[in-house]
């Protein structure tokens, strides 16, 4: 850098995210951080620890659990909550649990009940008025248009045509009765930025992001990992050990793996950059309801 006062793009992104988090803590009554244990959540949590250091982040972590995450995710979740000094709240939709909703038998209903409904119930249960989420604008078309402070009605709906103007870095956090705010501190980060930041800051992430020999089956064009014995094998299916890794992490029966030998972060980044498909390609959720899948889900209250 020729001019020492010029910050790198990562330094600017970090400062922006920290500024956003501090604004929320200063202006919201009861904030919470949604923690999905993925790499974006990992970066967001790391930024929160920086923003409030030497205090621990002054809000709890909330994991809206589906009971179908990878086992390695539950391990890291508990470790990170302990190390950060934050309270960890885990919410499982009791109705989904009682009805035994699962990704194998119930398809879209699984996401709807465990995640969309579960999130709404959790926010209402604890009365959170502002929830940090790790969504990025480069992920999906409707997210590219979402404000950093995104308002939700009392029923958690999103009105994309009526978003507040959001000027400079001045955030209007004033809510009407019943409204809540989703706040996206890493809106302006790209997938590459996330990886680079994890690399530079040695942010702990779930080992599933790195390639290893894991038991897999190929189903409907997706490579699925058999993470536990709840995985119902179809006739003729036998788990095969393959060197795989994951670009995103969700419920293990819904998350497609890629065949890979990238065992280090630089190798993962290398593969990411040379790849020819987008990271959400492994996710079933975006493709529902045609081109507007995510927008529709968000209007219904999905994060």
């Amino acid at each position: 850098m020729s001019d020492p006062l010029t910050l790198t793009h990562l330094a600017r992104l970090e400062a922006e995210a920290i500024h956003i988090m501090r604004e929320v803590v200063a202006e919201a009554q009861n904030p919470v951080m949604l923690y999905s244990v993925g790499k974006d959540s990992a970066v967001m949590l790391h930024l929160a620890c920086k923003a409030f250091y030497p205090s621990p982040p002054p809000f709890p972590l909330l994991h809206v659990d589906t009971t179908w995450k990878f086992r390695a995710m539950y391990d890291l979740r508990d470790t990170m909550a302990r190390d950060s000094g934050m309270d960890l709240l885990v919410y499982q939709n009791p109705e989904a649990r009682a009805r035994g909703i699962n990704p194998f038998d119930h398809g879209a209903l699984h996401t709807d009940m465990w995640k969309t409904e579960g999130l709404k119930q959790a926010l209402d249960t604890w009365g959170f008025d502002a929830a940090f989420g790790g969504a990025r604008r480069d992920e999906e078309k409707s997210r590219a248009k979402e404000r950093i402070f995104s308002f939700r009605t009392a029923s958690h709906g999103w009105d994309p045509k009526n978003q507040r103007p959001e000027l400079w870095n001045l955030y209007n956090a004033r809510k009407n009765k019943g409204e809540s705010i989703r706040v996206f501190p890493i809106s302006n980060w790209t997938e590459l930025d996330i990886w680079q930041y994890i690399h530079l800051n040695q942010v702990p992430i779930v080992p599933l992001y790195f390639a290893d020999m894991r038991p897999t089956v190929e189903r409907d064009g997706m490579l699925l990992m058999v993470d536990d014995d709840r995985f119902p094998l179809r006739p003729g299916e036998t788990p095969v050990m393959r060197s795989i890794r994951f670009r995103t992490l969700g419920c293990y029966p819904l998350t497609g793996a890629v065949e890979s030998t990238a065992r280090t972060l630089p190798q993962v980044i290398q593969e990411t950059l040379l790849t020819t498909t987008s990271e959400r390609q492994g996710r079933a959720i975006d493709k529902d309801a045609g081109g507007a899948g995510m927008e529709t889900k968000k209007q219904q209250g999905y994060f």
Partner: protein, 639 residues
Amino acid sequence: MSDQTYVVDDLIAQDIDAYLDLHQHKTMLRFITCGSVDDGKSTLIGRLLYDSKMIFEDQLAALEADSKRQGTQGQAIDFALLVDGLAAEREQGITIDVAYRFFNTERRKFIVADCPGHEQYTRNMITGASTADLAVILVDARKGVLVQTRRHSYLCHLIGIRNVVLAVNKMDLVGYDQAIYDAIVRDYAEFARSIGLDRFVAMPISGFQGDNITTRSANTPWYRGPALIDHLDTVAVNAALDRDTPFRLPVQWVNRPDLDFRGFSGLIATGSVRPGDAIRVLPSGKTSTVTRIVTRDGDLDEAVAGQSITLCLADAIDCSRGDVIAPAAAPPQVADQFEATLVWLNDEALIPGRAYWLKLATQTVSATVQQPKFVVNVNTMEHMAAKTLDLNAIGVVELTADRPIVFEAYADNRTLGGFILIDKITNATVAAGMLHFSLRRAQNVHWQALDVTREARAALNSQTAHVLWFTGLSGSGKSTIANLVEKKLHAMGKHTFLLDGDNVRHGLNKDLGFTEADRIENIRRVGEVARLMTDAGLIVITAFISPFRAERDMVRAMIAPGEFVEVFIDTPLDEAERRDVKGLYKKARAGALKNFTGIDSPYEAPENPEIRVDTTREAAEDAAERIVNHILGHWMPVI
């Protein structure tokens, strides 16, 4: 179609560590694309993403399918579909909201705000422009400079974007004709001059065909300038990071994990700071020295504009959210009245005189806006008279805040000069504002923090400072009761001062008459004098008709919370007139006295006075006793 890409594939494949090092040291440029509907904004951005390989195979496959179903480009790929993300946008083929897009070159990371063209979505365009370092203004070569082109250029200039690119698009549709290009550039230059935009870079492009996007096009051999990407890669931005700009840290949050640590967190707006720097906290004016710049990765030797930091100071001085930390020798201004440009962003028009929340940096105050001095006709740049500001209107106004705020002119400092107005009922962001200057001529007089505090003075007197504000009709008995109160307090050894309406008009306010404006100024001055006396620790007693609720509330706001005691001497008009101690009612009835309260000028009775005295039921002596007990903390039943 160009084969050029911005991502260095070979380096990624051969030496990922070297590539990461390269990427790590990239800087960032935020820009917006704007222009009239159908000028090809979305297409240009789709092209930039496509050429920089930010579009993956699965997205491309979906795009090809969408293009055939909904596209406007026949069988060819319609890049606009890639960026128009909302269902309504795809149906109507227009851009409604700002979309943010990302791509990299070897030198920079870019964040593009794709802004809508329609006038009704100006508020969304302003959102995108406010964070941009550069603007690409698109013009359709077949149509030339249109109303929207002017409007967007003006808004970009207004919001302070100093780097402007005029991209004459769709050159392929006019046969790459230089004469057409030149005429458009000439046309635009003339307009640009009229709005004070003295510098812009023009280039002929085709977003659809890819001409002059990544490399200079063979179709425009007459064009000698850079391709768009080359320009974006090298243009110098970030004047806010100038080392000569003084340090400004708006305090967001006070970090207090335990009794041993107290840090002040915020994003540095301008300048830089080092441990040892002498600082001043505004608006209090208290000074101290920076001891540490704390981060989780270790203390810093220096922090600069754009960084989010936590500062520790040598002294335990008052400092909280909304305060600004600045160099002791170069503090920003503090004022409560301003001139500013407003861009109105809400369907409900401005209501002059109504109080809105004003948020500037980390300060939130209540502020009223006066009737606009003028609005700007964005097409002709004419200044026109207006009573209000409607959606998308741009006007110059005067604002009054309910307390002083720390600020700088927007032209000097976006963070301390840019603000939003928020409706107190709907909580909507109704306007964006840019401060010009303060209206008080005292803008360079800084509040001097004093070592002997008001609390210390009052404690020495063994009393709590108060203002007993007597209000009521002429002849209601204000002066009589006020006098009795002062005599009682004095006898108890309390330090008091009675400010009498008639006496003040012989000296301090002898230049004032009895018009409404003069009466308001009379009360304002008395309020300020009373405030100084409470600072001195005195119990101040005032006896003024003070007929208007707004003025009494103005004084209440000047005085420290809990110290203002409104005493309503509630004597009905007919009783006061019957008494007519000074013979004034008789004169007023005869028409010899104008603007007499109760006769031809209204009296607005207090709604919630601390003390109400009904002189038809309570003797003056008893009332005085009750008032004394009230301020000395003794409880007495209300009669």
